[in-house]
């Protein structure tokens, strides 16, 4: 009988999703950011972000390679802290948000190495162009939050070339690429 109970416990414990879990990115509480940084003439930088996006990911501590993430971004929510510039960025010279109303990232692979570092690959659809990009990821931490939930967070960095996504407006030789910094905090479902 004891053995049976033990076996049952063990079984149910292993059946429980102890580590593998689905998370919803906490955009509601704004604990996630899609930030960009682009050179201004080679002398300084412009930093901005996309305010509206949503996404989900799954992460399994036992099998990190199976992790997945999907993020939907509203390109019209671009915010560089200057209305006239944002208007220009939303227009035909850049994002053309009337034509391309959505942007999306869907992961294709996740390769974790030591110290919570990983390389996340996935298809980014932006301005009507889909390209496989690679993001350097650092897992920051995971654990209980003070309100009864469970959270896990990552940061990611990558560099995108504007012309790869069909944006060919001349901003100068120093401004052909944009550095992306991503902060993703998920709440376990």
């Amino acid at each position: 009988m004891k053995k049976f109970i033990l076996a049952t416990l063990l079984l149910s414990a292993s059946a429980l999703p102890a580590h593998a879990a689905d998370y919803v990115i906490d955009t509601k509480g704004a604990h996630a950011f899609i930030q960009f940084k682009i050179s201004h003439l080679g002398y300084s930088f412009i930093i901005g972000r996309f305010n509206n996006f949503s996404g989900e990911f799954s992460y399994d501590e036992k099998n990190p390679g199976a992790s997945k993430i999907t993020v939907d971004i509203n390109p019209a929510s671009i915010d560089s802290a200057h209305a006239e510039r944002d208007k220009h960025l939303r227009g035909k010279d850049f994002f053309d948000v009337e034509k391309y109303t959505t942007a999306k990232f869907v992961s294709t692979s996740y390769t974790e190495s030591a110290g919570g570092k990983a390389v996340l690959k996935g298809d980014l659809t932006l301005h009507g162009v889909t390209r496989n990009i690679s993001i350097d990821v650092q897992q920051i931490g995971a654990g209980a939050d003070p309100w009864g939930g469970y959270r896990r967070g990552f940061t990611g960095t990558t560099t995108l070339t504007l012309s790869d996504f069909g944006m060919n407006y001349n901003l100068g030789p120093s401004s052909k690429t944009v550095d992306m910094t991503l902060v993703v905090e998920g709440i376990k479902k």
Partner: protein, 166 residues
């Protein structure tokens, strides 16, 4: 005086506006053209307010006896609508530049502060409105000018002459 100066500035602002949005980042006028457009726009707004005050304080010239009733009526409607459109264009333009709370600089002399700002996509909506209304205003102004030319060349009265030489 107000009339012809306004006509010149309105046509100038319209052309400048169409031209400046096509400029690219490394064009010399990329920053200057919008600065001039905004500044002239604010000055024209002030001039238009003064013009209406002037109009109030002075006797509006009587219509010529040869003018037909439909001419008087349609001209009157056109004038009123042009004033309304003019102010709507001023306001929508102002709302683009001040959408993030920044004021509008007038040739670096003074600044008009932002009032209504922070509406979601304010700069995009105001931009569309500004464009559509400006095109409407110019269209109406062309009809208005055609009316004046009709009086001069077809009716052969001195409607246009007395505008030129009051």
């Amino acid at each position: 005086m107000f009339h012809w100066l306004s006509a010149l500035i309105i046509c100038g602002l319209f052309a400048l506006g169409l031209w400046m949005v096509e400029l690219t980042y490394y064009d010399d006028w990329y920053r200057t053209a919008p600065d001039i457009h905004r500044s002239l726009g604010v000055l024209l707004l002030i001039a238009t307010v003064l013009r209406l005050v002037w109009r109030r304080m002075n006797v509006v010239p009587a219509v010529l006896p040869t003018h037909k009733t439909w001419e008087i009526k349609s001209a009157h409607i056109a004038h009123t609508v042009m004033y309304i459109l003019l102010f709507a264009v001023f306001i929508s333009g102002y709302l683009i530049s001040t959408a993030d709370g920044r004021g509008v600089q007038v040739f670096g002399w003074f600044e008009i502060p932002a009032t209504l700002h922070g509406i979601q996509h304010q700069e995009d909506i105001a931009g569309e409105v500004h464009f559509v209304l400006a095109v409407s205003l110019i269209t109406l102004a062309v009809i208005h000018a055609a009316g004046a030319l009709k009086h001069h060349f077809i009716d052969r009265d001195n409607t246009l002459k007395r505008m030129l030489n009051p």
